[in-house]
Every structure is written in C-alpha cells, then in structure tokens.
Symmetry: C2
Subunit: 451 residues, 2 copies
C-alpha cells in the first residue's frame, strides 16, 4: 500500500491499484520523450539480462498447462502460444526497442488558431490517462501493451490469463524495476480473476480498455463494461470480382487473401463474383484453391459452374479463420455492396475491377473500416499501413477505426493563451468580433506565437 | 411500415425505425454536399412558411405544461424553455441555414501514403452512420440535431420530451417533407417514452447517442447504454490566481468567469488564490462580487481575510450554476493543480499569472479538456473556438473532447488503391519493402495520384 493510501480502505485491491495508476498518469503525462524512451530501452535490456528467470517462470506455466492439456482442458494451440524461448524473448525485447524508436505521439500541436489579437488557441496531443488491458494466454501481450502505454504517456492496468500467471508476474516485476525512475505505480498487475469484473466497473477511473484475445473474449469485454473498448471482434471480409475485372489479377488477389495466412481477421471469408464473369473465372480459381486445400462452399449459381459443397445462410456471416471459403454469384456491383453491408463485419472489403465507376460504387457504398481496389484484404494492418507500432485493430467507429497506431492512445487538450481576455468584451451590443485566423505555430507554454 | 419490412416482425417499433435509418445512412453517406445543403435550406424555408402550424402545435404543449405548472409538477423554467414564438422560429431557421453554410465535414482526405509503387492508402472523412438524440423540453434541439446530422451525412433518431410532443411532431413532419429528395427514413421520430430504453439497448445499430439536457439526464443516459455518448455532464471550473498574477487582470477574469453568465457549464465555481497575494487580492474582488449579488463561501484562510460564509467539503465539488462561488487559498501552483485534479470535472480551468513556468506547471499538470492562461473560462465554447456549428461539449476523453464541431459526427475510412498487389509479395525471405512515403493528394475513386 502506498504512503498516500494509509487513510483509505478499499473494498477491492483493484480500486487501490487503479487510484494509484490515476495519480501516476497525471505525472507520466509530463515525462519527457527522452525519459520515456530510456525507460523502454531499460525494459528491453532487463528482458535480455533476466532471460533465465523469465524462462524458468514460463516453464512452470507450461508444465501446468501441459497437465491441463492431458486432462483435455486446454488445447495444444493454447500451450504453444504460452511457451517462451530465447528467440521469442529476443523478439519481445526488439519490439520494445522498436516502440522506443517511434515518433513521439505526445505534444504535437494539432491545430492553432488566433481567436483575437493576443488570444491564441492550441489543440495539443496528450495521453488518454489510464488504459487497462485484459488478455488471453500470450505473455508477450503484457510487454507489448505496457510498452505502447509508456510510449504514449499512459498509466496501464495489466490483467493476463491465469495460465500465464508466473510468466506475467516476472515480466511485470522486470518492467516495474526497469522503470523505477518513472512515476511510481504507472503499471499495475492484476492477478485475481475475480478482480476483472471489478476493473470493468471502474468506468469513472479507467479511460480505455484494450482486450486481446478471441472474438468471443473481446465481445464479452464489450458487453460487460461501460469503459470505451478499443479492440476487434470478427472479420468477415469479402473480395468482389467485378464484370470488368482483370481476371488474372482477380485470381491472384482472391488466392492471396485466403491462402497467404487464413487464421487472421483480414483474410477473405466470402468471395463474390459478378454473374457476367463467373463461368470464365471460377473453374481456374477453384482448382487452385483445392490444390491449396481450401474447403469451398457455394450458392446455387456457383454450384452450377463448379463442383463445391452447398453454402447455408450461416456461411455468409461466418469467420472461418481457416482454409475455408464461401462463394456467391451476384448480379452486379450493387448486389455485391448489398451483400457486404448485410453480412460483413465492417472490417476490410476489396473490389477487383478496371472500371472506375464500379470501384467508386463499391468503395463509397460499403460501410467498412478499410475498402480496397485491386489489392488483397490482407494489407489491412498497422505495419503495412505505415502506422508504426500497431496498437490494435478497431472494429468500432468512434475514436479509432481499422488499424490503430499510437495516436489511438492519445486524446487532446485545448490550451488558450490570452492576456486578460474577458468574454464580456465579446458579448452584447458592442461585442468585439473574433478573428478566427489559423496559425502555423506550435504551443509554447505561457507564450503567444505573435504570428 | 416501409416496403422492405413487410416480411419482418419487430417487437419494438423502434427496431424497425432504427433498421430503416441504418439503410438510409448507407445512402445518405454518398449524397453530395450541394444536395445536403439544398435540403437544409428547404428545412429553413419550410419552418418559416409553416410558422402558424408550428406555433399552434406549440401552444397546445404550452397549455398542457401550464396546467402541470399549476399543479406544481413542472417549473416555470421548463414552461419558458418549451415556448416558441416568431423570433425563436426565425432563430431556428437561421441556425439551419448557418449549418448549411459550414464547410463540408465529409470527403476530405485526412492522410495519404504510398505503401509501394502504385499502392496508395487514403484516410477519408465519412459519416458515423446512425446518431440518436434524446433531449429534454426545448423543441429547437430536435431541429438543431437533425440539421447537424444531415450536414454530416448521418441518419438520425430523434426522441424528445413528452411535454413537447405536439411541437416535436410538427417540426419532424416539416423536416421529413422538406427533405423528401433524400434517402427515405434518414430521420426518425420516437414518441413513446418506453421506447427510449429499447433505443439505448440497440448498441449494435446506433453508433452514437447525443443527450441534451441536465447533468443528471446526461449521466442517466451514460449509465444506461453501451452506445458511445457524446455529451457533457457537469462543469466544476476553477480560476487560479497565482502569486505572480497581474491582480487587476485576475480580478477582471474572476469576475467575468462567474458573473457574465453564471448558469452555464464553463462558468467558474471555485476561485483558488495563492497565499502570497490573497490578502491583497481578495477584499477588492469580494466587494465587487457582492455588489453583483454573488453569494460567497470560503475556507478558513479566506475567512481570516474577508467576511464570507464557511465552505464545506461538498462546496469544492459543486456546480452551482448560479451567482454562488467558493474561494480557497492554496500554498502555490502545485497546490492549485492538486486541488483541481482532485475536485474538478476536467472541463475548463484557468491560471492568471505573469510567470511562464507557473503557467506551464498548471496547464500541463491539469487533466482537463481546456486549460487557459490569462483568459476567462467562459471562452470554452465551439463558437468562440471557431469550430463552426457546435455539436456539443464532450466531457469524455475518447473520440471528441471539449467543444465539438461537425468533425465530431464523422469517422474515417481507409481506401487502398492498388493494381493487383498481393501480401505474399511482402512476406517471407524475398519480401518487397514498403516505401511508406507521405503523399500530398486527395483520394479520387479508382485512381492513383501518380505523385
């Protein structure tokens, strides 16, 4: 218990931790970029130096998980995700260093406006405050989110899965000790499972929650908190092959979007084909898909052209996350737009066409975070978009949408610099007018640009 | 019931309305600026032309409300807010025209980046989708929010107070008829009180809710929905008079911030004074406040200097919204920052000082949407900030903070223009590198900038 809190009784340990994080957040917001980066590099160094401790703790988690696996309570995939080794730890340390190398997301003047002579308004990027993360088994999520939070000046509450409790505890200890120069309590680890429900209730103290895990897990968090959630649930993405498509290009894109990495949310789940080209296009692609082991299901028209299983209504809304794909023949680009808006998850959609009008109809008509023309849906990713460190992918529309960079962990503050300006002067009959002149200036505390 | 819905059974009329609004939103997103503005001007014209109908309907509401007033169930203030007259209708029509005159918040390219040769990413401003508003008695709120939604290409669900039901119904009818050229169902009126709870449940269909009313009302909405809320609850704003303040300026600012319009959320509620200047500063200001009828309460140190009532702990967190003010003497700027972060509502805070370091400590140390230096808190307002039409003031930190312009009713979409680009080419051993070169280009559907 911190010195401040001797006079407080908290029903939940989580309340004390979140209150301490709130206090730290106010200080962390004003820690210089160089100090935040130095702290990140200390974390990376400490992960390398204390490799043996981390691997020993992780071995305990893995051993326990293998016991659960034998009893059929865990899957092999879960055990694999849990397991750390030297190479993975080096990747994690490298990731922390790469976060340090990113441009500072804080302090930039986003907008500057003269309201009247010597009265200047600045909109400046600042941290959000307290960010919480709740994640399933991968212990690297703990380090990644702590690094992103620190880079963006936010305090962070970390809650991992119980299956990784030993790994999480040592990684948290390392982070805490390596950042001893930062405001105390900026990172907090929650261990007890029953504290998650309490954490999700603290919507007046926690500013943003970032769940990491399966779609069901993210949906559970969304349904059980009033804290804004930055995360993504499912990706039911489409590729539409238009009547004016370059069919060779279309085949390559449809193949890449499914086969290159089928487990991810930006892989295609349903292929839509214009009826004018379906008979020409489908046989070659289906042969290629089948060679790659893709299980195909189609609507009636598709099945008149190629020999695939029958798609049910449920297929149009399913994220297979695997080498499975449904195919539907549509009348035209409008039919494609209607199908996507009805069944898609607003994630990533792509049209293949040489017709600019069809591209415009598709791209502007579909409500999704990312809409592509003549490119694979798999490009929807913060790294590929050039956003730098990827904070996550958001399937919400508010605050941040699609792949989200460090900007997603910031908000802004308005700073107004005057010299005794009163609103009374700008009201009533002899009101002064406002100039509302845009300035090309950065905020300097206590000063006016004099532009 | 629209043609589309003959095959649907909805348990709630609201579900049908929201579904219809969702469909309309997809179309409205692509209606040209000129058509949206023409529709806004038609609304303004129709309000003027049908003045008699509106005033007749409003007279029914006012009569019923006066009955409630006699029975002590309504306040005079409520009846006053409800009442429309020729001048107020002209103001409303003028407001709609001024929304039409705003810059288009849609279609702007916010960011453009080359990912590789002929692969270009554009981030473009688009409408959010379906916005709902729930508002207390003022019928002008219905027209204002419908106008802001239309300007920003969003469908809108309108739910007013039952005391204004006749006024709301005729205003809604006028809006609907004046915008018959727009996608049908873009605006929906909900009348039954019990439908509000249903509306607030539809977080998968309604993208944003904007409550208009008292702090308690906004808090109620926030606590009862998982839809993101854009609104403001209370404003407990401070003016801090530093030891290095120009005391004449400080007196004017403290006076303006309280007296110029005490009922609004950006008026000051607590004055903080540095102990080094309290004895010099307070007597003159207190005399001026008392002449203006301000009721004052102070902490012990304040009461040793001036003869005012005693402030209780509750005073430091109270939004008086009236000619009342609490005064506290603090040790220095750090004491002021601590008091504000502990008791403020993160709305608007102001420091008066000639010391740049003190200004920086205060402005960067306080977590609030707006922090001012040598200016009255009353400047915190979308019109004064030069944001154009004010959508509202947000006390949240996510998506929009402080005074919010039309930008607050938009989100963005990523458009990617390629010519058959595959992710496979950018993966594995011989992966192509990304160029990630910023472009100075606007998105043109189906084309690449060729920059």
């Amino acid at each position: 218990m911190s010195e401040h809190d001797h006079d407080h009784d908290y029903d939940h340990e989580t309340d004390r931790q979140v209150t301490e994080a709130q206090r730290a957040a106010l200080k962390l917001a004003n820690v210089d970029e160089s100090e935040r980066n130095a702290a990140l590099n200390s974390i990376a160094d400490a992960i390398r130096e204390r490799e043996d401790e981390i691997l020993a703790a992780n071995a305990e988690d893995v051993e326990a998980a293998e016991g659960m696996l034998e009893r059929g309570e865990y899957t092999q995939a879960l055990v694999d995700r849990l397991k750390l080794d030297e190479a993975k730890l080096e990747d994690i340390a490298g990731m922390v260093e790469s976060v340090a190398e990113q441009d500072d997301p804080l302090g930039a003047t986003l907008e500057a406006r003269e309201l009247d002579a010597d009265l200047e308004l600045y909109r400046v990027a600042v941290p959000i405050g307290v960010i919480a993360t709740v994640f399933e088994s991968r212990p690297d999520a703990l380090v990644q989110i702590a690094a992103l939070a620190l880079k963006s000046g936010n305090a962070v509450i970390l809650k991992g899965g119980s299956e990784a409790s030993e790994s999480n505890r040592i990684l948290y200890e390392i982070i805490r000790e390596a950042t001893a120069d930062l405001p105390a309590g900026w990172a907090q680890l929650i261990e007890a499972h029953e504290e998650v429900d309490r954490l999700l209730e603290l919507d007046d103290k926690v500013d943003l929650v970032m769940p990491r895990g399966s779609s069901d897990f993210v949906s559970y968090i969304q349904d059980n908190t009033q804290i804004p959630v930055l995360g993504h649930t499912e990706g039911v993405c489409h590729v539409y092959v238009d009547s004016e498509a370059d069919l060779e290009m279309a085949e390559d894109i449809a193949f890449d979007a499914k086969v290159q990495y089928p487990a991810v949310c930006n892989a295609v789940e349903t292929l839509l084909v214009d009826e004018a080209v379906a008979a020409d296009f489908l046989p070659g692609l289906v042969e290629r898909y089948e060679k790659a082991g893709v299980e195909l299901r189609g609507d009636e028209t598709t099945r008149e052209i190629v020999d695939v299983g029958a798609a049910t209504d449920g297929d149009w809304r399913t994220e297979y996350g695997d080498l499975e794909l449904s195919i539907k023949v549509v009348g035209d680009v409008y039919g494609a737009v209607e199908h996507v808006n009805e069944n898609g998850s607003k994630h990533t959609e792509s049209i293949v066409t040489e017709d600019t009008d069809a591209a415009e109809t598709f791209m502007t008509g579909i409500d999704a975070a990312s809409v592509f023309h003549n490119a694979s849906t798999r490009f929807a990713d913060g790294y590929r978009y050039g956003l730098g460190a990827e904070v996550g992918i958001s399937t919400g529309k508010i605050h941040a949408r699609g792949p989200v960079g460090l900007e997603g962990l910031t908000t802004y503050k308005y700073y107004l610099e005057g010299e005794g300006h009163l609103v009374a002067s700008y009201s009533g009959e002899d009101a002064f007018p406002f100039s509302h002149r845009e300035l090309d200036a950065e905020w300097t505390p206590g000063e006016r640009s004099g532009e």
